[in-house]
């Protein structure tokens, strides 16, 4: 990427509308993580607990975009990271959260907070701390430009490893049979 000095690549990761399963898969790289850490340095990530993303070479994002906060975080990643990777089924096509997309949001909120037994007299939460949901859940590429995609629920650790090492070597990552899967 940079090519001149053996500078460590800065990598940020986050989960939007995801379950952190893809992050578990990153950890599943196992002992190869040590080899990876010789070449990369983690910025904002659940691994470092850094909350603000700095200027990075690579951003890895799990989960789709389901609310206002997701939008802000994703845009921030796009601004700060040279290369963005959509990691996992939800980031790639909306995944499980996007299965609400055929229902109207008001109907969903009504059903969940007002109509359910036990919540009949409830209110739809309106605390400003809570991110507002979007009408639909979107995969990342419908909101910002995405450079690479690693599908899977979760993607295999080997697929993540292959893409990361490929990118480190400056190659266009291609997953072959067994590593590319959608389930």
């Amino acid at each position: 990427m940079d090519g001149t000095a053996p500078r460590k690549l800065k990598v940020a990761t986050t989960s939007l509308a995801g379950c952190f399963g893809c992050h578990m898969s990153i950890l599943d790289i196992d002992e190869r993580l040590f080899a990876l850490l010789e070449k990369v340095e983690f910025d904002r990530s659940p691994i470092t607990d850094i909350k603000e993303v700095g200027q990075c070479d690579l951003g890895i994002i799990e989960g789709g975009v389901c609310n206002a906060e997701n939008v802000e975080v994703l845009r921030e990643f796009r601004r700060r990271c040279k290369v963005l990777i959509a990691l996992g089924a939800c980031a790639v096509n909306g995944g499980l959260p996007a299965q609400r997309n055929t229902l109207s949001l008001p109907l969903i909120l009504q059903e969940v907070y007002r109509s359910e037994p036990g919540a009949r007299y409830g209110l739809i939460p309106n605390d400003p701390e809570l991110p507002l949901p979007l009408n639909k859940v979107h995969p990342l590429h419908e909101v910002v430009r995405i450079d690479h995609f690693i599908p899977g629920c979760p993607p295999p650790a080997d697929a993540i490893w292959k893409v990361l090492t490929g990118l480190l070597e400056g190659k266009e990552p291609a997953l072959g049979h067994g590593l590319i899967h959608f389930d």
Binding site: A89, H148, H177
Partner: protein
């Protein structure tokens, strides 16, 4: 059976009346396809089997084989175009593979793998397509329909029942069941019908059997679709097993 054409430089023998894809399948050569099934008359709607014949695009399932024809199939250009078609099919419906009973046995998914599709690329339509669980043995999940018409053809031509038909037009084209209520339970459909065993994707499903084989060890998990001489027969065998 002496005449041949070349497919990516290799000779393929064909008999009179065969189409390019029919001859290729018979010869064990792979051309990506979804709406084609060797038991049925070629249909030509998915266009994934498009090849170049003498430099011109043509759907190989419906194009007659001719002696000496020069057919290109496995080229970066054609595979990129096929990938775009498969991506179109993914955004047109609701394809959530992690929760699909057919994942791993699905030809759409396997073809996507084989074409190196890592993203649906286009903006999703997210259509509203309610499932039909009315039938005691079978489930219809229209979210995954790619409108290949194989069930329509199987029910009409083999089962003699006309359980399925296509309705609507354009992007609103949809599969319907033949009953006044529109529900499958009110048709004459049976899990033993040919039409119950030809769906290349996860629309027509046998109830209570969806996860008999775990993810990871299904037909296309074990071997890519391009490495299987007759993936269609193989999936059918999996489905017939135990039904």
């Amino acid at each position: 059976m002496n005449a041949t054409f070349t497919l990516d430089g290799r000779p393929v023998a064909f008999s009179e009346g065969q189409t390019i894809l029919q001859a290729a399948v018979a010869a064990g050569a792979y051309i990506p396809h979804l709406c084609f099934h060797p038991d049925f008359k070629p249909h030509g709607s998915c266009k994934v089997c498009t090849v170049k014949v003498g430099g011109r695009h043509a759907a190989s399932c419906t194009t007659r084989a001719t002696a000496g024809a020069v057919v290109e199939s496995d080229t970066p250009e054609l595979n990129a175009e096929r990938r775009a078609l498969v991506q179109m099919l993914f955004v047109e419906g609701n394809h959530f593979c992690p929760s699909c009973e057919k994942s791993g046995d699905c030809k759409l998914q396997a073809t996507a793998y084989d074409l190196g599709m890592s993203t649906p690329h286009f903006d999703h339509f997210y259509p509203d397509r309610p499932v039909d669980a009315s039938h005691p043995d079978m489930l219809l999940d229209f979210n995954r329909c790619i409108l290949c018409s194989l069930c329509v053809r199987a029910s009409r031509d083999v089962d003699g029942k006309n359980v399925f038909a296509l309705a609507g037009r354009g992007i609103r084209t949809r599969l319907i069941a033949n009953s006044r209520t529109g529900r499958l339970v009110d048709t004459s459909f049976s899990h033993q019908d040919k039409a119950a065993h030809v769906c290349p994707v996860g629309v027509i499903l046998h109830k209570r059997r969806g996860f008999e084989t775990p993810f990871g060890s299904r037909v296309f998990d074990r071997k890519p679709i391009s490495a299987r001489a007759d993936s269609t027969a193989e999936i059918a065998a999996v489905e017939a097993d135990g039904s």
